[in-house]
Symmetry: C2
Subunit: 156 residues, 2 copies
DNA sequence: GTTAATGCAAAAACTTTGCAAACCT
DNA sequence: AGGTTTGCAAAGTTTTTGCATTAAC
């Protein structure tokens, strides 16, 4: 695997999220903690799903606060977003190791792929275009193991 | 309308788009031709940009017709869409060879990459997950040649 | 006590839908 | 003629914004 330091134990980013906020002069609010926790726990979630999760915690947070907070947390590098459907963006914590999303267009399943699987691609894009891909934001649409045979069948 | 001579003759998909429509029992309408031409000419375009382009041709087409038509043309395989920004989907003609989009997050530039650059990735996803990527729908966000040095600078 | 952050409600941006009129075949 | 497609207007979604109130520091 990668030479990545201790992966997900004391959750580095989560541990000092308060400090990250303070350093930039932002305030610590319960809403911000709730939104960050929700993203952490949900794995991949749209703003709407984050709101729902927060409401489960018996907390009343406004949807506009969710949007504003996600934007802030992303700016601070605590969360990231990708586009897993043709519609809403989905947010995920940066605590989990960076990964690429594989989305099945047939059944909607979401798989996580290791960034190493994209090392050849990364080299090719660098060599051919001088382009540096942002793998954490990458979503690959396609067909999953299960749906592949079904769809190929239908094509005949 | 302007006496429109065959804009692009050596284009397979374009040549028989009328036939493709007829075969499935759809009707040939000026709106459909205008939308398809607009997509062809624009390269990458949002529904809104398509509408604008069509209006340039002095034709009054409704935005809802653009949406309906793009959906139809995609179903027929004459156009495809990808997500080049965090917001709107962009449509492009299937006449142009299948390619992957590289989008710079800093300056917004869009480059086209050859699918061959992704062959290793394709093999890896197949081997590791049984996943078959849809390269025509793939968009890779990152930093282009020009912006790379600038952004790396700023990070310090 | 200041100043940033939140809630609320209204607006904005984008897309979809119902239906009568217009148009293709 | 007959059924499809369009235009229009209205409704649906999702996201953003302004401002008074609340709360963090």
């Amino acid at each position: 695997m990668t030479s990545k330091s201790p992966a997900v134990e004391a959750s580095p980013a989560h541990a000092d999220w308060q400090q990250v906020l303070r350093e930039k002069g932002y305030r610590l609010t319960p809403q911000r903690e709730l939104v960050l926790s929700a993203v952490d726990e949900l794995g991949h979630a749209t703003p709407d799903e984050v709101l729902e999760k927060v409401h489960e915690q018996a907390a009343a947070v406004n949807i506009s606060t969710v949007y504003r907070t996600l934007e802030l947390l992303e700016e601070l590098g605590l969360v990231r977003h990708a586009h897993l459907s043709d519609r809403a963006p989905t947010y995920h914590s940066t605590r989990t190791p960076q990964h690429v999303h594989l989305v099945c267009r047939s059944c909607g399943a979401v798989l996580d792929a290791d960034v190493e699987e994209f090392s050849a691609m990364t080299r090719a894009l660098d060599a051919n275009h001088g382009f540096e891909p942002d793998l954490g934001h990458l979503t690959v649409f396609g067909l999953c193991e299960n749906c592949r045979p079904l769809v190929e069948e239908r094509a005949k």
